[in-house]
């Protein structure tokens, strides 16, 4: 796993993510300054401690020296760190201002965080879920709010992070200098599927961006997130590992893993959404009064387009799970599982 990781973060300095923007480069300078300063102080303190521990270890006949204090020395190790810390603060502040103040010509995109999905709204009315498509080399400003609880929008490659708070707007900006995919995390704990609240920034070359804008197929070239390969590999290996299990059992694992059970019970009790128990093959009344029989197609549609046919008595709050999120094999397993709950 080690080799895959370092290859994926090929351009990154050791221990840091790839530098995706100029701010990231500036940030890294400050980081490495602090790093080496810390190494210096660590060696000074702990090295000194170990040296004293060895040299002044207990020996027969050793007399200790009676030292109570040394004012000059104490003043020295009070004043020097103070100066250093003030310098660090100033440097940190100057980088911070670059980090948070978007240039005036930044392109604005609105971001809505909700449990457990990122939605991106463009000025032309287009929306994307879990995928932020932006042109290479153009400053992007995200104006963000949350629909339910606090989330946090974090792109390691751009060294930016900002909490997304319900009831107010916050913003974050970056100017992508590296085409390709960049990982987005939610970093404020938001409930069951917090760790699944991921997204990607797709930084496109200009011509590909135009294609995307026109709603045509486009290609993402450039870097990939380490996880896009690894995750696919891990998922397929998990699928292989699961493949030994009967299909309904695979489905049972999946609904746990995807956080479905946060809203859908398996014992017949109504939570945020209808229970899975005993619905398959039965009629359900929908919000608009029509009825539908729960079958493979209905389950599939309800997972991919949850707002299409909402069962009466529930709110249309479920986020859509695209094909990328739940593949066909997994879909079959989930259907088989729901079927088995009759």
């Amino acid at each position: 796993m080690n080799s895959v990781m370092s290859k994926a973060y090929g351009k990154a300095a050791w221990g840091l993510p790839l530098q995706g923007s100029d701010v990231a480069v500036t940030w890294d300078h400050l980081y490495w300054f602090l790093f080496w300063l810390s190494v210096f102080f660590f060696i000074l303190v702990v090295g000194g401690m170990i040296y004293f521990a060895i040299v002044y270890r207990k020996k027969e006949g050793r007399k200790t020296k009676y030292i109570v204090d040394h004012h000059a020395l104490e003043a020295f190790w009070t004043i020097i760190p103070t100066i250093l810390l003030m310098a660090i603060f100033g440097w940190g502040w100057s980088v911070y201002k670059k980090q948070i103040h978007a240039p005036t010509d930044a392109m604005e995109i609105r971001v809505i965080g909700k449990q457990w999905l990122w939605t991106f709204q463009y000025d032309d009315g287009r929306t994307e879920a879990s995928k932020l498509v932006v042109p290479l080399g153009k400053p992007i400003k995200l104006i963000m709010t949350s629909q339910d609880v606090i989330h946090s929008f974090f792109i390691p490659n751009f060294r930016v992070k900002q909490d997304v708070v319900p009831g107010m707007y916050t913003s974050v900006w970056f100017e992508p200098k590296v085409a390709g995919e960049h990982q987005v995390f939610c970093t404020e704990y938001c409930g069951t599927s917090h760790s699944g609240m991921l997204a990607k920034v797709e930084v496109l070359e200009p011509e590909q961006y135009e294609l995307w804008k026109a709603g045509k197929p486009y290609q993402v070239t450039g870097v990939k997130t380490p996880s896009s390969d690894l995750l696919a590999a891990a998922q397929s290996s998990a699928r292989l590992a699961n493949a030994k299990l009967p299909l309904p059992d695979q489905g049972a694992k999946l609904v746990q893993a995807k956080g479905c059970t946060a809203c859908h019970s398996i014992d017949g009790s109504a939570k945020i959404g209808p229970s899975y128990k005993g619905i398959f093959g039965h009629e359900q009344e929908l919000l608009d009064g029509t009825k539908v029989t729960v079958d493979e197609n209905y389950i599939r549609e309800s997972i991919q387009k949850p707002q299409a046919k909402v069962v009466k008595g529930f709110n249309p709050v479920m986020p859509p799970y695209t094909k990328d999120m739940i593949g066909e094999e997994d879909m079959n397993a989930i259907v088989a599982y729901i079927k088995s709950l009759n």
């Binding site: 009315g125 709010t145 707007y169 909402v310 709050v317």
Partner: protein, 300 residues
């Protein structure tokens, strides 16, 4: 807290301090003073001094508190360290509010400098007699709907937009005839758009020019199971003079206060007086609340 005090271990119990007994006369005098001060605060609250009301009110309260603490609680004759202890509580409280305020009252400078977020307020008159629906008017209304309303009401007006889940009561489902508060006629929808529905997530959209609001009302009405028409009386009640072709100046121009402040900010920036007014974070266009700029004229 008080570590300068009592340096000799056990010698520290402040001989005699605890045994001061307050004379009855002092108690009665203090009681009288407290009652007089209470009368003063109540009286002063009916005199309008602006912010000074607050300052004076708190000063009188502080005087009363001082009397209670120093005489009733006997701090004036007690060990000094106890006064220090008690006052330190207020000191740390001051730290608390003093350092929370720089955040709580100074949030929300998230706008890019110099860029106006709102659309211009006074649109060019595109439509004649906008209170009478035509296909063009409905189409125009739809365009505005897609910008302004989908977040709550959903793309099909079913009240299922992405922001709907968090709203109680849920946004109106326009495709159903049930539950309309102000009614489903265009003029009634127009009223809702203008005034909002207090107590719900529906804010006033008076910031949209009246003409555009009419087109929006017609589009929303068109989503219903059957389309209701306005009678001339309805229109009159809505302030429309049907004898004319345009709406006239029945509506004061208004824009969101944030936009107003933004413009103001930009204006003062030109004069080198920038940055005194910061927009509040929750007044942003879109999802938050709207605040009407009552007296602001964008043409100034």
């Amino acid at each position: 807290m008080s570590n300068s005090h009592d340096n000799h271990g056990h010698g520290s119990h402040g001989e005699g301090h605890g045994h001061y007994i307050i004379p009855d006369a002092t108690i009665y005098k203090t009681l009288g003073a407290l009652l007089v001060l209470t009368g003063i605060t109540v009286g002063l609250s009916f005199v309008h001094l602006g912010t000074w009301n607050f300052v004076v009110g708190m000063l009188v309260a502080a005087m009363k508190a001082y009397l209670v603490a120093s005489i009733f609680m006997n701090l004036s004759h007690d060990d000094k360290s106890n006064s220090v202890i008690f006052v330190s509580g207020f000191f740390f409280l001051a730290i608390f509010i003093g350092l929370t305020a720089p955040d709580f009252l100074f949030r929300g400078d998230i706008f890019t400098e110099g860029k106006q977020i709102m659309l211009p307020v006074k649109g060019v008159s595109q439509f004649k007699r906008p209170w009478e629906p035509t296909p063009e008017i409905v189409a125009h209304g739809k365009a505005i709907f897609m910008q302004q309303c989908v977040s709550c009401h959903g793309p099909e007006g079913k009240g299922d937009g992405p922001a709907a889940a968090a709203l109680v009561p849920h946004p109106r489902n326009f495709t159903s005839a049930d539950g309309w508060g102000n009614g489903r006629k265009p003029s009634q929808i127009f009223k809702t758009l203008k005034e909002g529905r207090p107590g719900t997530g529906m804010a006033s959209f008076a910031t949209i020019p009246a003409e555009d609001r009419w087109t929006l009302a017609h589009y929303v009405a068109s989503l219903g199971p059957n389309v209701l028409k306005d009678t001339p009386e309805d229109l009159k009640a809505a302030g429309v003079d049907t004898s004319k072709d345009t709406l006239g100046d029945t509506e004061a121009p208004s824009i969101p206060i944030t936009a107003a402040m933004k413009i103001l900010d930009a204006e003062t920036a030109k004069d080198g007086l920038k940055g005194n007014i910061k927009p509040g974070h929750d007044d942003l266009e879109g999802y938050g609340e709207r605040v009407e700029a009552r007296t602001f004229n964008p043409n100034l």
